[in-house]
Amino acid sequence: MELNQSNFEWTFSNSPNFKPSSLPRMPVSDHPLKSIITERIPTKVFGSAPGTAVTTPVSLLSNLNQENEDSDPLLHELDPLSKMAAEAESQETPAIKSIKEADSNIFHQMEPWISRRASILNKYTTSERLSIVTSFLVEGEKVMVKAQSTAIDKVQHRLKQLDSFEEGSQHRLDLSQSEYITKIEQLNKELVVAWNTDQRVKALKIAIQCAKLLGDSEVLSFYPSKFVLITDILDTFGKLVYERLRAKATYLKPGSKTPVPLPEDFTPDMVSDSAKETCLNWFYKIASIRELVPRIYVEIALLNSYKFIAIDECSESLQRVTDMIHGIGNPLVAVYVRCYLCKVGITVLRQKPEFGFLIANFAAFLESYQHIFSRGIKGELEKQNMELPAYITLYTPALDFILEAVNCVVNESYLPNLLNICKKKKNSSLILNTIMSGFKPAYISDRCMEFLNMILESSDGGVPMYHLLRTLGLCITVCSPPPDQRRDILAIVWRQISSFSHPDEYITCAEAWIRFVVECFTSRELNFVLGDIIEHMLPNRSFEKHYSELKLIISKIVNHFQDFELLLIMDNFLPLVDLFHEESIKVEVCKNILISCRGDFKTNDPVITNALMFLCSTVHDSVNALTPEDEYKQIGEILCGVVRRVDYGRDFEGQLAFFVEARAAFSNVDIVLAELVQQVNTLSVSTRQIMKGTHNRKTADFVRACAAYCFITVPSILSEKTRLELYLLSGQVALFNQCLGQADACFRAALIVLSNLSEASAKSDAFLIQYVKKYLSTLVVVPDNPDRRVLDLLKSLVSVFTECSWIKPEYLGIIYLSVIDVLTVLAQEEYPYHIDKVESNDALYGSDPKFIEEINKACSVIVKQILMLIEDVGPCRKQSQLASELFVKITTRGDLSRTGILAIKLWKLCLQNGYADRNFMVKMKMSIQRRSELKENKKLQQLVDNLVI
């Protein structure tokens, strides 16, 4: 079997016959590139109660349907993405609704409770034992005392049991904090279970017992967390009662006879009598709770249910509870009750005028403010061994919440009033702190100097100075003070901060104020401040204890400082980074810095480059065998970013030198090495562009150096896939720069990699076939190496695959077929494409008959290989596919006078096993016929006549 080239009519685009317009067009039903979309039509299933569906109006039906879809997971036909979208939509609707009641939205700027909750739980912890008194938690089975020697013992034991039973078998548990939290969660579950099993009295009892726990502050430092945990339970309870009442309170819509659930914004006159009665019963029941604190808490939890009784009941009771809280002697307990009242109050009320209770609550707190410093508290603090400042900070979460809520309903004029009150009170630091954290930062920073003076004057034992300064700093951060005061403020504040001798106090303040410095001042001031920080942190290695604050400082600087370059050349910035001695933290900080260096600035400044390299090598050196994949990737990206940033402009040699340095520094990370090779290739190409294709001696040496760089960098990359691609690319670039030897070496190296492939991803057909095709099309223009045989690279490639054991036959077939394609191109007189200034084989051999003979021989070998393959595969779909492909190649590429018989054989083979796609075969036959008519090729015509389907 030989293929005769001379009869080939097939040529590349220079042939007029094959202009795209003249290509045979065939109508198709589908676009081959279109992605497969399966459309699912959601089946709508009606609710299980068809009886109700008949009488209910249409709008309700759709509701019902929706509800069913929501509740029944089996009905979901939506894929997760559209489900998410749908959910987002459904969440939006209530938001839109609430816009109508614009007043209820005035609290939207408050920090959501969820985030407060988390931070409170994190901050207020204890290692002391906590106790819980309850009758609802069973601590395993009670151990019965078996050894009862005398009858009296027995009687006593029984009496004891009877006693404990009558007391509701309350027991006191002594717990650690984590145990306590799980117990509370258990109570929460217990409550829901009790409720759902219709034991409502038990549920109420649980709620009361929980609320009772809030009445004592036996472990002070844990109290805020306890509050958060227990109010969760109370919220659950309130919601359960409300939902049940609402479910019970169906009403008759005017004109209809079926009861419907109450709408969202129902009024009390829509509520049925029996529901009202149940609701009243609840309130009578809680009004008779003996103890004050539980009674108030449970009433607050049920506030929302007042809506069933009367419209104004809710705001009246808010007012009343506000007054009743005065009866709570423990100021900490009282302030947290107020916090809960405000929290529930703002969710319950609808109209703005009713929110006066918020102000009333804050005013009430101010009224009893001095009580915090009374004898009773002092005694308790002594007992619990707690300092006053620490105790005072326990108030902040609750007060902050109350004041923030107040802030949402008052206008700015309230602040001066408050300040005046504050000035008049003794021990006002707590109020001052609360005002600063509660009011809009804009108000505060406008009066920054005033606050500063008040802070400096306050010297009571309450909130410590550094804490106040920190709070002020946080306000200033959000909103800068008037420009003309900034300098004075900084001077005063930093003098004060500098004077803190305790590193704890110093660093918490500095951390809060640093952003102000970064945003409002130049690098000179920042540099000074950083120097001051280093000075304060160095003694006694105190920086070791404050890594987290230092980390925050750095991240604030890098996130808000405008000019990154300026930062890197600052005297005190890198020394600050040097303070991190703990390796992992240092790496994290460096990473943070590098990530935040945004903007597309390029640098060639040696100082900056050095600084960058210093940071990068810290990050790079953290990579080891245990580094997780994600982090490895992230580090790689960071380093690549830096490599791209360094740009020496037209100093190409300097640039290359930098790349050499970078390669030495970042040898552990694959992506960076790949990036470097890419960069060097780019460099090489730009060199050529600048020289307009003609290198002089110096540039020729330079591009050779580049090629050498690539050639020696690629082997150290771990990923075989990347290595393959980069070898090919580097070879192409070398060829482009007329470095034939280097190109040849690269291509050969790629072949060596190919012959030793071990990676699964590189072996995958998607990559491999595409790669081989790319490689082959490059080979078209690669001139033969005179030291080797003709078409050595191509032959080596083929032999790599013939010897390869793991490749699947069908892919091998595809590769062989592509080789045939390349060979036919190589046989042409002039190749379809060239590289400027590189003489390809067409010029080298000039279609020498010996050369053509060589190609024909090669072709024959390949065809034989394919035929063997076809035989090996045996009769199956793959076989017929391969046969039909080969058939196409022969009819289009070969001289049919020699291969006609083979073609017919192949055609028959295709059809023989019944695996062939008959449609395709018919179309193929038609297309060959059309071609033969077009070209008036008799041999082709003959072939068509012999093709039977």
Binding site: S272, R290, G327, I328, G329
Partner: protein, 302 residues
């Protein structure tokens, strides 16, 4: 064969006034039809008096319990002997709430020694072999707002607010053991509408010892007349804490107490028995010293 007999009242709150019709439904359900000898509905209301065993001996208390005073007694036949079909049968009814001649209706009240209760009883008489069926259903009677069953009550003079001051000097027991303190208080009125809470405030002006608790105790005073004179008993209904712990000084603490529904009724004075109420303001100091101030109150329905 299970027959289920139930009485449903039309009003959810089950509260009725004198002269009104108590209406509702007798619901009978059974899984087969059955014969009966007639269905009757009886409305009953009575005052039950019990003499405390503190005043007389246990045995006497048991035997001497005064005969109940019947206030209402009305029977009507719902239907004569016959058969009832299987399934659910609902028979609507309406009975006027009227007192017996020479009796007045009092409000429903459940106390320790005095109980005033009203109920509906449905009886189904059955033939000799099967058991009779009976079901009793309580309902509540209230005065119409403004009505007062005890005209001799000193209502007018009790309407004015009361201001009081407590200090060791004002104590009847003298200043024995009490710490130095001054408590000012204010009660809006001691003649209270039973549906409205008792309101007022207390201010702790000074106190040498921390307070442990300030409480309001609601007490009923029941008096029963009997052959050997009369017995007067005071018992606690509820105790509500209004101040917990060392309360801040010079800040008004609200007095606020809702009157529980079943255990209170408008103050009632009759020849045979009396129901009166009192409120105690209790202050407990850290050293467990206890000070009580008593306020007799008059409850009316308005």
């Amino acid at each position: 064969m299970a027959i289920n007999l139930e009485i449903h009242l039309k009003r959810a709150d089950k509260i009725y006034y004198e002269g009104e019709n108590v209406s509702g439904i007798i619901a009978l359900s059974s899984n087969s039809d059955f014969k009966h000898e007639g269905i009757t509905l009886t409305m009953e209301g009575s005052v039950n008096l019990q003499i405390s065993s503190k005043n007389v001996g246990i045995i006497e208390a048991f035997y001497n319990s005064v005969k109940p005073i019947q206030l209402v007694g009305l029977t009507c036949e719902v239907c004569g002997p016959g058969r009832l079909p299987s399934g659910l049968t609902e028979i609507p009814f309406e009975i006027p709430l009227k007192s017996k001649p020479n009796r007045t209706l009092y409000e429903t009240y459940h106390g320790v020694y005095v109980n005033i209760g009203y109920s509906l009883r449905c009886d189904i008489k059955r033939s000799f072999l099967s058991k009779d069926l009976q079901k009793t259903h309580q309902f509540l009677v209230q005065y119409r707002p403004g009505y007062n069953a005890t005209p001799e009550l000193p209502i007018k003079e009790k309407r004015t607010p009361i201001n009081f001051e407590l200090s060791p000097a004002t104590l009847t027991s003298g200043r024995s053991g009490a710490p130095d303190f001054l408590l000012r208080g204010h009660i809006e009125t001691v003649c209270c509408n039973i549906t409205k809470p008792l309101k007022g405030k207390v201010i702790l002006a000074k106190c040498a010892l921390p307070v442990r608790s300030i409480e309001l105790q609601l007490v009923r005073v029941e008096t029963c007349g009997c052959a050997e004179g009369y017995a007067r008993e005071a018992t606690e209904i509820q105790n509500i804490q209004i101040g917990d712990g060392d309360v801040p000084h010079n800040i008004p603490i609200p007095i606020y107490m809702v009157f529980p529904r079943l255990f209170t009724c408008p103050t009632l004075l009759t020849t045979n028995f009396k129901i009166e109420f009192e409120v105690n303001l209790v202050i407990v100091f850290q050293d467990d010293h206890l000070i009580t101030n008593n306020f007799p109150i008059v409850l009316v329905r308005e």
